[in-house]
Amino acid sequence: MALYFFTPFIAIILTILGGGIIFYILGFNPIEALKFYFITPISNLYGLSELLLKATPLCLIAIGLSFCFKSNNWNIGAEGQLTFGAIVGGGVALLFYNQEGFYILPLVILAGAIGGMIFALIPAILKTYFNTNEILVSLMLVYVSKLILDYLVVGPWSNPEGFNFPETRQFSDSSRMPLLFEGLRIHAGIFLALAAVMLSWFILYKTYLGFQIKVSGLSLKTAKYAGFKGKTMILVVFMISGACAGLAGVGEITGPIGQLHRMISPDYGFTAIIVAFLGRLNPFGIIFASLVVALTYLGAETAQIFLQIPKYTGQVFQGMILFFLLASDYLLFFKVKILSLKKNELRH
């Protein structure tokens, strides 16, 4: 069991080693390259703030996904739920454009969570009542949400003073996340992520619902024999997951972005799947995993600025982490045996 939580570290170490080898083959000094990748980005206050800023949406989404994944529900569409949450939250922010009031930001955040929830309910309802495959439905809905966003920012919600560019107005300050420090971009959204971590730990490990989720994940049949209401649980985990993704979306648009446009997320919803598994679907593991994965984004930028290493190495690193994690799991949980075939066995 201890090994189970240890393999993510093995995976990270192997990724760093693998990265070093790639850098060496590309003709860079591997030690220097790795330093620019993993140390330089967070060597000052601004860098740390950026790391937390980047990790916040990843952590939120991954926490939500852990509910789904733990109960054997494969919600692949967090990106869509994030987008739809941002749309609903952004809509409320635009509704209160140029208005003051302490209640506006909470309303915007709530709207974002509800938006994500509604969007996650679609695959959940289709799964429970029509037996559709949630992987396909949730994935396809990602494109639907992006098209809705495209339509809104190009058409009805586009900035009237914006020369038809595909973006809305900048939100008023009353619907922006308060910054935590002057000059840094880290904002109050990080508390949402921390609250989600605490809450999810409580739900998963201290409540009856959490018990149901875990049992269903281990064995659906057992859950049925125990008399758990499977359908309700599916709806609930999707709602939690969607709400978290919606919060992540609304955190981005009311935080660093400040408006709606077409590029509100560089696929956080998909990257968060890696984060969830790297964090072992454990709330505290996910905090750690979101920081590691966030660092691969920042590192890729720094490495390109200082050494002109192609930025796509960031994606290579994320891929390697997942690969090594799955590989170490495989080697951990299965015994590898080399079998030799005897001549007479071939005849059978």
């Binding site: 038809n164 000059g183 935080g255 590029m263 560089p266 930028e301 390109q304």
Partner: protein
Amino acid sequence: MYKNFFRYLISAIFLLGFSVNSNADFKVGFVYVGPTGDHGWTFQHHEGRNAVEAAGIKTTFVESVPEGADAERVIRQLAQSGHDLIFTTSFGYMDPTNKVAKDFPNVKFEHATGYKREHSNVSTYSARFYEGRTLLGHIAGKMTKTNTIGYIASFPIPEVIRGINAMTLAAQKVNPNIKTKIVWVFTWYDPGKEAEAAQALIDQGADVIMQHTDSTAPVQTAEKAGVWSFGQASDMQRFAPKSILTSIIDDWAPYYVERAIAARDGTWNQQDTWHGLKEGMVAMGPYNSAMGADLVKEVEQLQKDLASGKVHSFTGPIYDQKGNILVAEGKVADDGMLAGMSVYVKGVEGDIPK
């Protein structure tokens, strides 16, 4: 006491040394929206960067920077890590560029295709691509047999609408029966979508294809289908040697070199640049011999006249789709009108997506 004095003296010399040395440390940063290998928009900015490098100035670039929350960090990192002049080469970097510029008054910023210059250290620049479109329109009007021109458009912003209109007006001048069919793809770079759009237009009878997107997919699709096409942003001839009639080339190199030298020598000023054929920011690729010598001669003359100002792409009378007059007879559209252009001219089919 003396110790301290020497300490100050040494640090003063050090500081002096650094400030004298700052010329040698002068660095220019570039932020790209796409990969340097897109053979279109980003590729041309990268060529511009290579020219700056060739002029003996150190440069850095970061590619594929999403236009969301990440842009500000990248721009800020460039500013923090000792870059003195930063080119941000996509519209979506407008607000982040201005935001970072506020915090780094000693760093100069140049934002491509935007309109916000909120601080004195922010300049904007763009090219009069529509002049190139006028040439394409002239050629397309002469080359089409079906009188249908297919146009793959990215976003309904003034720059794109301007291109559609300039092309249509020029084509109408040589061929009054011309129709422009448009497919909006809502992306700057998506080879799959662009290829589909090109095929859809060809299926609707277009025998000349042009695009306001960045990939080479439309010209390759046209080559396969045996219809005419034009390269966009860079010379795309080698991707469709038979099909391409010419290319509109964005040549940022002279501007980048000029601005980098100005910033290094301390003569950099805030400005809003809109250069065209005249200054060479817009250039044309080689003309396909399939056009015939006469047409090539005509187009070369038109190119000269556009550059000299003798001919303007938007000369009245110009009507909108409903027949209302936009530019009166004998007048030319001013830059203000061009910058905010948001209606189609007569002869363009369909509506601008709203």
